[in-house]
């Protein structure tokens, strides 16, 4: 067992944990960031991609709306390259309570969410596929945000400042010394090797899994109720603006255009197990019907993929009259020295992706207080690596790059325009044998063919770069094939079934990967 010593151990490599690591590194702390899987493989990588303007919460939860718009403005600046400025609409359809629109406008006004009512005809001119029967439309500064890019930018930025980032390292035990947490024992999920981390402070940023980590630390009453939601990615950008139903937030009322697809979400179903990713047929049907209400013909479009994400909904089983936590706040920061008499341990959970930076700031402010240090937060002004220019990414960026090097570069994933040079560079830098890790970096295999053509190519290239054995290469291929199938089979119909069958012919027929030597 090797031992690492650090100032701050962050457990959980989602947006919040990576945000804490980035924040801490900027404040000059030494950091170790760990996740049991890849970074942003949990909730952060499993949402619809919406950077909230706050409009969604303007009526229901004004405080959350205020947080969202404040963070929206900050992230557009510091994480510019991770954001596409699509703008957003709230539209009143014939299925929505017509009274809500005025309350919505008033709520935006009260919470400072920029909101401009525009003629329905103008919204339809900009988004011709939108339900033509909308009666009112409001423009808000919604956008989309690429969570994987954001998380990895923060992780790399932290690494550049000395942080150690350890994906695929599961926490198997929390070290306690009397009333203090002193670090954790990690197990490398790939090699089985164990590592001890000794930390001045340990931050539990494990989101929906926070209860599990708190249990390991011997802390009671941290209850996280996982709320599972499904999302469906439709081929193409059915809309180019984020479209919200102008009504009290409910299921299936947002369509987010992101990268090459449009994502509809979501549902909220209680589950006992945050690793439960079951997709239920009735949820799929309901989501497709909801899509139809916003974009007529939605069901005839090609559904690429369905997935679920698990929200961490925090409930403090120890809550008492003296608990000062503002109950309307979406995120929960627990100072375990005050709450439980356990020092050097902090839990941050709940919240939403849009507010991850704020959560990280508050967390590190608390850590600093525990350590008796005053180091100011700079994440609201310091751009993430890659975002220094302040320019947002655009949909056509990859095509533009390809056109610049039309004859020199090879496309490996045509759907998502992943070039061979970028793929090889990422494989070298990332040193992983898991093509799904590469997918989260480059969107490899995320387009209409769901890897039909690129999985073989990418496996061949990976095999060459990493000097893999045939067994490892086959594992990469078969693993990714199964991973792609996971998100397609519950929603296979229409042209996507046709594609899946073509992929069957390629993999099982032409390549015969079902009979690779064992």
């Amino acid at each position: 067992v090797t031992t690492l010593t650090t100032d701050v151990l962050v457990i959980g490599g989602g947006a919040t944990g990576s945000g804490v690591a980035w924040d801490a590194a900027l404040r000059g702390f030494d950091v170790v960031l760990v996740d049991r899987l890849d970074l942003a493989e949990g909730t952060s990588g499993r949402f619809h991609g919406l950077l909230h303007s706050g409009g969604r919460y303007a009526v229901k939860d004004p405080h959350a709306a205020e947080e969202c718009i404040a963070e929206n403005v900050i992230l557009r600046r510091v994480a510019a390259d991770c954001i596409e400025d699509t703008g957003g609409f709230f539209v009143t359809t014939q299925f929505d309570d017509p009274e809500y629109a005025d309350r919505f406008a008033a709520g935006c006004e009260a919470t400072g969410v920029p909101c401009e009512e525009i003629p329905a005809a103008e919204a339809l001119r900009e988004e011709p596929r939108l339900n033509p029967r909308i009666s009112r439309a409001f423009r808000v500064p919604d956008a989309n945000i690429d969570a994987w890019k954001t998380v990895w930018s923060m992780a790399r930025g932290a690494q550049e400042r000395g942080a150690r980032v350890l994906p695929y390292h599961a926490v198997v035990g929390i070290h306690r010394d009397g009333d203090e947490v002193t670090g954790a024992r990690l197990r490398d999920a790939r090699t089985g090797e164990e590592t001890d981390v000794q930390a001045r402070v340990t931050v539990n940023a494990s989101g929906a899994w926070a209860e599990h980590i708190a249990d390991m630390a011997g802390i009671e009453g941290v209850r996280v109720l996982p709320g599972r939601g499904i999302m469906i990615a439709m081929n193409h950008r059915l809309v180019n603006t984020v479209v919200n139903r102008c009504q009290m937030p409910t299921d299936g009322d947002i369509i987010v255009p992101i990268r090459t697809v449009s994502v509809i979400g979501t549902t909220d179903v209680h589950t006992d197990d945050p690793d439960d990713h079951t997709v239920h047929q009735d949820e799929v049907d309901a989501m497709l019907e909801d899509g139809e209400r916003l974009v007529p013909g939605f069901k005839q479009a090609r559904a690429l993929r369905v997935w679920t994400g698990v929200r961490p909904l925090f409930e403090d089983a120890k809550a008492s009259d003296t608990d000062t936590r503002d109950v309307t706040r979406a995120h929960a920061l627990l100072d375990h020295s005050q709450r439980d008499g356990v020092g050097r341990f902090v839990t941050i959970t709940g919240g939403k992706l849009t507010t991850f930076r704020l959560m990280a700031e508050e967390t590190m402010d608390l850590v600093c207080r525990q350590l008796g240090e005053t180091r100011p937060c700079t994440t609201s002004t310091e751009p993430l690596p890659g975002s220094e220019s302040g320019e947002h990414y655009t949909l056509g960026e990859r095509l533009e790059r390809k056109e610049e090097r039309l004859r020199e570069d090879q496309l490996i994933c045509e759907c998502e325009m992943v070039s061979r040079d970028r793929l090889e560079e990422t494989m070298r830098r990332h040193a992983t044998t898991n093509l799904d890790d590469i997918r989260r970096q480059l969107r490899l295999g995320m387009g209409p063919c769901q890897g039909g053509f690129c999985i073989y190519r990418a496996t061949g290239i990976l095999h060459g770069i990493d000097g893999l054995s045939a067994e490892e290469a086959n594992g990469a291929l078969l693993g990714f094939l199964q991973e792609r199938w996971k998100g397609t089979w519950p929603i296979l119909y229409g042209d996507q079934l046709r594609q899946a069958r073509l992929d069957d012919w390629i993999f099982q027929g032409v390549l015969d990967v079902g009979h690779l030597p064992r």
């Binding site: 119909y493 046709r498 015969d512 079902g514």
Partner: protein, 422 residues
């Protein structure tokens, strides 16, 4: 409606099954027309004639395994077609190739013993009848294999192929060469056309020869020519002084394009018509018969009348079958009843990619004579038939050929009988 045309038989679909049925019908004297939305499976499949590769273990003797398969699965297409009908269909196809427009090009093998050929990832694929240009790749032969590729060919990765061949116990290694192409992305058909050129082959061989070892045979991606693959292949073997074989890889399939040209040429030679870009969009019925189909082409509709129709529109991959977002499965062309569709509330697919998928065996319901249920003058051939999982069994081309062949015989027999009684 812009036109009314009359034929003895109309075949819908231009894949292996449709072209086989149509050519056989034309050879039998029928006035036949093929209507197709586009080219069929030929451009996607490696076009080895896989009759039965797995049952579920790797099949060495397809003829014997076929007999066992139909005994165990009376609903399988081979049970309807009849095992005895398979060999004549293969023979017919082999002579079609031999007599075709590609000089010297032929298919070798048969039902006695499967070839065992390397796939592009280095698995060993069992196949009954294969292009001569692939046959030397049989992994049971002892000569070590040099798998040759080039960076510019993104759809072929020789090192991975060789590594799996090695893992499977065969001596193999990869050799990377440079192909004289002026861009980073090579198009399979474009490269295959270059191999029709003797100078290109000469440069390729000159580069490769010094890097080969004594006793090695040479595996290359299946790109050795479109116009004259036999010439390209024999020339390369001569230049390298050793056996050379093609390894099929991702679509588009050059061996498949060759077969499409061969069958199209045979169909035309026999007097048949092939109309691509002509999508069948409707049918007129009278009682239990289809009397005509309506095809949409170039902005207008034409009605095709015939006493017989052959439905060879394929399965889900080609769009002949479709599952809509309301979860109803249908035959998209004639709307005929299906067989093998999971019932309401039953799973359509399951979570394990390699597990048998409940939707896998769906097809157009037929009787023992391949006649569609509810349409007595419609015969069904190829992947539209229910009961098989061809990509999984390694049976796609075998079923297509044998059922296309058989459907044509049925029409000719019935027409002959009709003529005799008339």
């Amino acid at each position: 409606m812009r036109g009314e045309l009359h034929f003895d038989a109309v075949v819908i679909g231009a894949g292996m099954a449709g072209l086989t049925a149509a050519t056989r019908l034309a050879e039998g004297g029928a006035r036949v027309c093929v209507l197709a939305k586009g080219v069929g499976s030929t451009h996607l499949a490696p076009l080895t004639i896989d009759v039965l590769g797995y049952a579920p273990d790797c099949v060495e003797h397809p003829e014997a395994a076929l007999a066992e398969l139909v005994a165990a699965r009376p609903d399988h297409p081979y049970a309807l077609i009849g095992v005895d009908a398979v060999a004549p269909a293969l023979q017919w196809f082999a002579s079609c190739v031999a007599d075709g427009p590609l000089p010297g090009y032929r298919y070798v093998g048969g039902l006695e013993r499967n070839h065992l050929l390397p796939s592009a990832v280095g698995a060993a694929r069992p196949s009954a009848l294969v292009p001569e240009t692939m046959a030397e790749g049989d992994v049971r032969a002892h000569e070590p294999i040099a798998v040759v590729g080039a960076r510019v060919l993104r759809d072929f990765h020789p090192a991975l192929c060789a590594a799996n061949l090695e893992k499977g116990g065969r001596a193999a290694r990869a050799v990377e060469v440079e192909l004289a192409l002026d861009r980073a992305d090579a198009n399979a058909l474009g490269v295959a056309r270059r191999f029709d050129d003797a100078d290109f082959r000469g440069a390729f061989a000159a580069q490769l020869a010094p890097r080969l070892r004594a006793g090695e045979r040479v595996g290359v991606p299946a790109l050795l020519g479109v116009r004259d693959p036999h010439g390209a292949w024999t020339d390369l073997q001569r230049r390298l002084g050793r056996p050379v074989f093609e390894i099929p890889t991702l679509p588009p399939s050059v061996p498949g394009i060759r077969v499409f040209e061969i069958l199209r040429s045979a169909l035309r030679a026999a007097g048949g018509r092939l109309i691509l870009g002509s999508e069948v969009v409707g049918a007129e019925r009278s009682g239990g018969r289809v009397v005509s189909v309506r095809a949409h082409a170039a902005g207008h509709d034409v009605r095709y009348h015939a006493p017989w129709f052959v439905l060879a529109t394929g399965g889900f991959a080609s769009g002949g079958l479709a599952l809509a977002s309301d979860w109803v499965t249908r035959d998209t062309v004639l709307g005929l009843p299906l067989r093998g569709t999971p019932g309401e509330g039953e799973p359509r697919f399951v979570a394990g990619y390699f597990d048998e998928q409940p939707m896998a065996r769906v097809g157009v319901a037929v009787d023992a004579g391949l006649r569609a249920e509810g349409a007595e003058n419609v015969l069904v051939a190829g992947a539209a038939l229910p009961g098989a999982i061809p990509w999984h069994e390694g049976s796609g081309e075998g079923i297509a050929l044998a059922s296309g062949h058989r459907a044509a015989s049925a029409v000719l027999e019935a027409a002959g009988a009709g003529a005799a009684t008339a």
